[in-house]
């Protein structure tokens, strides 16, 4: 399971405050905490500051990498900001994200071509957001063809089938899960990755829903998640799900989670 730690996002108040004050310590601490809790990538997002996004994204990358070895997930729809951040990033980051929306596709693809960059590909096109499993698969196929055609190996692609709130349509959960299942079976080697929290929009006790959905998605093959690695309930649920899905030899990570206190009732 690839875990992308989501906390360094300018839309969160503590991060916005750190960005405005140039508070390196606060950002570094968030990076350290997430990595020691199991994050493989540290997501960095400065999208709130549209006019200074590139500059601030670079500052976040440098600050994160001054303290942890883990690569960043460069979280921006803006190719300019991503290019600037790439120039200061050590190692191989994840680009978060490309989609079939024409502008974004045309400007990001050259940046990815022939590199070892990892890339999140949103199942979204200029025709809008997919609602059904079939719509997701159609977009996924075009994304995979386009990306592999540009020399991006299947193993470096993380398809995000887009989670939509089940509060607004009874079938939004199941259509997503079916899509994960079919993507993972159709294109062995490709990854699926998503954020969970959209699923529970508009409903009470969202953490319970997010956790159950993550567990269900893992059972269908999901192998990447953008989440808060400091959320013990979520991480405990994830360790349990991976074990039950047959992805945890000798239940080693489950037992590690147990000893690390992730499974204690909170």
């Amino acid at each position: 399971m690839i875990i992308v730690g989501e906390l360094i996002n300018a839309s969160r108040k503590p991060v916005a405050a750190a960005l405005e004050a140039g508070d390196r310590k606060a950002v570094a601490r968030l990076a350290e905490e997430q990595v020691s809790a199991g994050a493989d990538y540290v997501d960095v997002n400065a999208g709130l500051y549209e006019d200074r996004e590139a500059e601030l994204l670079c500052w976040l990358v440098k600050t994160v990498q001054s303290t942890v070895q883990a690569p960043c997930s460069l979280d921006s729809p803006s190719p300019g900001a991503i290019e600037a951040a790439l120039a200061v990033h050590r190692g191989t980051p994840m680009i978060n994200s490309i989609s079939l929306e024409k502008d974004r596709w045309d400007r990001l693809l050259p940046i990815l071509r022939g590199t070892g960059l990892q890339v999140v590909a949103l199942c979204m096109s200029d025709d809008g957001m997919p609602e059904t499993c079939d719509q997701r698969l159609t977009i996924a196929e075009r994304l995979i063809q386009g990306l592999t055609g540009a020399g991006v190996p299947l193993e470096n692609i993380y398809l995000d089938p887009l989670v939509q709130p089940v509060s607004t349509n009874t079938n939004y959960g199941i259509e997503f899960l079916e899509a994960v299942d079919r993507i993972m079976k159709n294109w062995p080697g490709v990854h699926t990755l998503c954020g969970m929290s959209n699923i529970s929009f508009g409903l009470p006790d969202r953490r319970r829903i997010n956790e159950a959905f993550l567990v269900m998605a893992v059972s269908r093959g999901l192998d990447g998640a953008i989440l808060n690695p400091l959320d013990r309930r979520m991480m405990g649920g994830l360790a349990t799900a991976e074990m039950l899905a047959g992805r945890d030899d000798f239940c080693a990570r489950y037992l590690e989670a147990y000893r690390g206190g992730l499974l204690a009732d909170s």
Binding site: G47, P77, D126, M129, F201
Partner: protein, 208 residues
Amino acid sequence: MAVKDIYQAVLRFDRKGMATLIQKELDSGTDITSLLNDGLIAALDEVGERFSRGELFIPEMLQAAQTAQEGLDVLKPLLTETNSRSAGIVVIGTVKGDLHDIGKSLVKMMLKGAGFQVVDLGVDVPLETFVQAVDENRADILALSALLTTTMPAMADAVARFRENGNPVKIMVGGAPVTDAFAEKIGADGYAGDASQAVSLARRLMAG
């Protein structure tokens, strides 16, 4: 008792029974305007308030709106100029570059439930399309949605464009990254944090 039954049926989400109930009221001579205002619209207002207080949730708001719609479908052929004055005309859409539909659709649904006439332009709507639709429909209110920090500037452009032309249409904005402060900064007439607030805001804007 009569109109109260309609009101209660909306709060019970009685989709199947609504048409029959309305018909019964009509047969017994209950005033159409009262069925509409004190029955359906008042009930949806109550639903909106309970939603704002965190007592009801989005799927329940959807059911209530669908229930009210069942009633409205029966009343519609009977509505005349005098008893069906629209609460106002709203043009709504998600701005250019932004494909998010859900929040905008919830707002549309609640506005319709509150008696507004709503023209939905969908998602990824170019500024020119808004300009044209406001003009053609003689809209009172333009409601703009954006779910991305990168598309919020399109709201500022829209406000600037309408103000520049001296267009008196009221502009309201909403969407996850949008705030009151942002609305004020770009000179919009108001911000609503959810579908229920959008209805209250639209009414305030209509009141002047």
